[in-house]
Amino acid sequence: MAKVLVVTSGKGGVGKTTSTAALGAALALNGQKVVVVDFDVGLRNLDLVMGAERRVVYDLINVAQGNAKLSQALIRDKRLENLALLPASQTRDKDALSEKGLARIIKELRTLFDWVICDSPAGIERGAMMAMRHADAAIIITNPEVSSVRDSDRIIGLLDAKTEKAAKGERVEKHLLITRYDQARAMRGEMLKKDDVLDILSVPLLGIIPESEQVLRASNLGQPVTIANPLSAPARAYNDAARRLMGDNLAINVPLERFNLLGRIFGGRAA
């Protein structure tokens, strides 16, 4: 039975797209059939982070409007054969995505994959509402700072009001993923601590992704960090989060960068 996830946050720049790519790849590495869907019509990014920007022919809007078949728009990942991308349109307007067309696409994706991960645009406008519309579960991305936390709180309220599940009187399953977490700064009081965030949002924690340059480096290479550098701290954190989604019961901690002796020596020389 396929599960539709929405990755959402309200605030922009907190790591929705990065997390969508990393979690999608991590689930695929664990043997699951995964599709990541970009809902940011007009400002698409997921194709870049997945390294598929030159392979986009048809997109979500084309399929929703019936101008292309789903199989024509899906881009199969070159590294992982059970990972696919459904890109957003860069040239069209957000309003071009019809409710009916979207419902049909999600229904079809459910038959093809184990996980359908919807990358929501920032904000609480139509695009974000469309991304969460058919979700069974939501991953709320939050940075440990007050404005991100309040925006997440707002989004959680909307998940309970504007989704298909809410309309049927059911609840959308919610998971909190704290990204860009810096243990040292949190200890010094320069960031909200994990417990403060959990206290405000009261949503179960899926994982904590440490702040790391590896994430930015992987994005710029067009690779999800879980593929680019699977042993790095953020990749291990994403992988743990993916396994928790699959039902594994793992203790939550903040993975730290492993002390790499060779890396230190050569890194030091190169510098």
């Binding site: 309040r150 925006d151 709180d153 707002r154 959680i156 309220g157 909307l158 309970d160 009001a161 504007k162 809410a166 309309a167 206290d199 405000i200 009261s202």
Partner: protein, 231 residues
């Protein structure tokens, strides 16, 4: 400290006759809600002619509702006593109950309030079993509101009676909005943005810093709001 008043906005929809029938039903069901409550009529969405405007105002006033202003039509169509509110300055203080004017089927408000308390319990409290999220309003003019969970920054609770929050109150609380000076606000952890009882309000700047994070109750004592720690 200062005093604020709540006015409710009536926004008629087309067809007008159906809307009027719905209004009658609501007025009948919640007499206490409409009794002496100042109302603002917003006609911008139905764009009536001058003759229709006069007729609509007559229909509303026939029902003994206290109309204080009309918006959305040219000024010279209105009798002097119903001048529109000046600009947007005051609309910030005007609250619109989510269900009363705009019954939307696709998106029900996350926490419903019952329009009529069940017979035999005239002031049944509204029990909210989950956290109230930023941007949500819980409006319950009939009595107390009990929240089992926190009220987020940017959320608000508006109650005819007292407000009880078993969690952290970070948002705004309006108690006793029907003129109930005995209403109180209780919370197990106090970090509110604003506390209002019967229109008398205090904002975060007025709060004693030592009370932050403690469990407190707020009540009116001869038109002064006291916020005190509970042991």
């Amino acid at each position: 400290m200062g005093r604020s008043y709540l006015a409710f906005v009536l926004a008629p929809e087309l067809p007008f006759v159906d809307w009027l029938v719905e209004l009658d039903r609501r007025v009948e069901n919640s007499l206490s809600f409409f009794a002496n409550r100042p109302l603002v009529l917003d006609l911008s969405s139905i764009a009536p002619t001058k003759a229709e405007t006069v007729e609509i105002i007559a229909f509303i006033e026939e029902r003994h509702l206290r109309l204080i202003a009309v918006e959305g039509v040219p000024l010279d169509w209105l009798p002097d006593r119903l001048a529109p509110l000046p600009g947007k300055v005051q609309t910030a203080g005007v609250f619109q109950p989510p269900e009363a004017e705009k019954p939307t089927r696709s998106a029900p408000p996350p926490v419903s309030w019952e329009p009529e308390p069940s017979i035999g319990s005239p002031c049944a409290a509204l029990l909210v079993n989950e956290p109230v999220r930023s941007g949500q309003s819980i409006i319950y003019p009939h009595g107390d509101v009990i929240v089992v969970g926190s009220v987020a920054s940017g959320a608000e609770i508006i109650a005819g009676g007292s407000i009880h929050v078993y969690g952290c109150l970070r948002g705004r609380a309006f108690a006793g909005t029907n003129g109930n000076t005995n209403a109180r606000i209780f919370c197990s952890k106090f970090d509110a943005e604003m506390m209002v009882i019967d229109g008398l309000y205090k904002t975060a700047d007025d709060f004693d810093l030592a009370l932050r994070g403690t469990s407190v109750q707020a009540r009116l004592d001869r038109n002064v709001m006291n916020i005190e720690q509970m042991s």
